[in-house]
Symmetry: C2
Subunit: 347 residues, 2 copies
């Protein structure tokens, strides 16, 4: 592995001259530059970023800490991050926490050891500990998708409360009263906010809140399946479900279908998070779509802006707009006479 020394020797110059050519810094005579570049090419020299990073204290590297890259919402968000980062010459470390704060802590320390310049994170848990930790080690941080109990961070997210309010109001307008919510983990802002929106919509409509209709779980298909089963055992059965993310929605649909019920004839489903166009042939869910690519894109841009050092003013909370999509998964509730439709071919 040739070093800058080898290149220097071959070009008949000092190492620092090679460094200057590499980094386009200082003055170099054209002729010298060419000698150096020739030597670099001949040796197949590739600079050592570790040594460079050690010296200049920045690595052109960021960490992306997600809960699960498997969810298309995060996949596409990650793509947004990666596009911006690579454009700016940064590389991205990918980390999946599965909502575990201890996994998250493990990744954060690993990233800090590797001296990433900054971290983009969808925080597991609801403390500011991770943010403080990152800052203590001189790295920048931008929070994505979720709130944290402090205004001293940059955050890129969508409005969960209002959007949920709209989704549930839509159900209420259709005539639903017994609406169950299948949400994410306690303490996670998106899970809690979506519940708040649900409650607010019911309260404003004069519908009493029944705690037995509220289900906390995880943001996974399995959890959605289990929560839906539990929800359907509660009588009189809810006529509508509000699921707090796409995976929960899919799990819920499976449970409903297994129970021999039709959507939307027997049960309506509305959900937070759409499935991407690229993956779905005939969109089915009445849903709130979050602009996941833009979220990743903006978050990465904000982080890079902070890293580039100029004074940027106070921390920002950027709330991106959501889109409300009414589709086939929601309809008026069944009349009490014909509570369930006859079993037909499921769609």
């Amino acid at each position: 592995m040739p070093t800058i020394q080898d290149v220097a020797k071959r070009a008949g110059v000092a190492p620092i001259t090679v460094s200057r050519v590499l980094n386009h810094t200082g003055y170099i005579r054209e002729e010298t530059r060419q000698k150096v570049e020739a030597a670099i090419a001949e040796l197949g020299y590739v600079p050592n970023s570790l040594a460079r990073g050690l010296r200049i204290k920045q690595t052109k590297t960021i960490g992306l800490v997600l809960t699960d890259i498997t969810n298309p919402f995060f996949t596409i968000l990650a793509r947004g991050v990666e596009d911006v980062a690579s454009q700016a010459g940064f590389n991205v470390f990918l980390c999946n926490t599965d909502e575990s704060e201890s996994k998250q802590m493990g990744y954060l320390t690993a990233l800090l050891q590797k001296r990433v310049d900054g971290i983009l994170m969808v925080p597991a848990g609801s403390t500011t500990v991770p943010v403080d930790l990152i800052r203590d080690h001189g790295a920048e941080v931008v929070v994505i998708d979720r709130r944290l109990p402090t205004s001293q961070v940059d955050v890129i997210r969508c409005e969960s409360i209002d959007s949920s309010y709209r989704l549930v109001s839509h159900l209420l307008e259709l005539g639903h009263v017994r609406i169950t919510i299948l949400t994410g983990p306690r303490g996670v802002s998106t899970a809690e906010d979506r519940l708040s929106g649900y409650k607010a919509a019911l309260v404003d409509a004069g519908v009493e809140i029944d705690d037995a209709l509220i289900h906390y779980g995880r943001f996974t298909q399995e959890s959605g399946y289990e929560m839906a089963q539990k929800a359907m055992r509660y009588l009189p059965m809810p006529t509508a479900m509000f699921t707090a993310n796409n995976f929960i929605a899919i799990g819920a649909v499976k449970a409903v279908q297994e129970a021999g019920l039709q959507i939307p004839e027997d049960i309506s489903i509305v959900t937070f998070d759409d499935l991407p166009n690229s993956l779905v042939i005939n969109p089915f869910f009445t849903a709130i779509r979050q602009p996941s690519y833009e979220m990743g894109h903006s978050a990465a841009e904000l982080l890079l802006a902070r890293l580039s050092g100029g004074e940027m003013g106070p921390y920002r909370e950027i709330i991106l707009p959501t889109e409300f999509l009414v589709r086939a998964s929601s309809a008026a509730p069944p009349t009490s006479k014909s509570q369930f439709t006859r079993k037909r071919a499921t769609r």
Copy 2:
């Protein structure tokens, strides 16, 4: 930012002693260890991996070079990689090449500069240049999903030719004769092999190969859409389509639906690559499923095994089995009398 020196001073020992505690190497008196650990905790010391990597010449970092993380096949594969890597204390750089060899080259040099220990790649292009480059810089490499024109690399992939043969034979058995193939880019082994399997099945069935039924494109939904439109303009219209990946299949379905045709009544579709269970409610495609998680998992394990240095013998090509799933997107061709079914509600 405290360094190992600061910790040493505080604990009243030499830096190397701290190093030994950190790395669990050599002998340390319990009492000394505790003093050191206390100092580490008090200072909030986090080791500098750059310095360490510079010294020991390994970084516990790997690169994952994919064509597009947005495709669930790769997403899930990436998750398999990440799980194995993080388990072993490695971090993963994520890179999307979009099938561009120049982007790929950019990522590879960046990864080599950052002195990754190894690289997992789904190669864009069909030369061994990237592999040689990586090796020249002392990193290991494992190729995923695609063949390269050399036996001197580890490869983890599935059989494309045989699997395609099965898919097309299935169509032939149903009675289809005019079968079009919508495949990926020229020169990409998966695109070419899937075409080879298609041709072999036709030849064995005594069906003449019509070059006008062969469409090369990209592995994207847009390309699938365009290819399908072109395919449907060729008369007599094909009664079946074989799409070379999941995105192409989805694009093709959209084109078919837009043309007012029914699947499978008017046109059958069979495809390489299933969509993950977690994303699909009612699986629809007759498809070849590749075990994407396992591919990522095995590839990462193989790479880490090579990195751990023990003699491992020659390069290996590991071919993982595929699964053949017959579902609703394929059926017998329409009879010539009633070439097209009447337009009904699309599914």
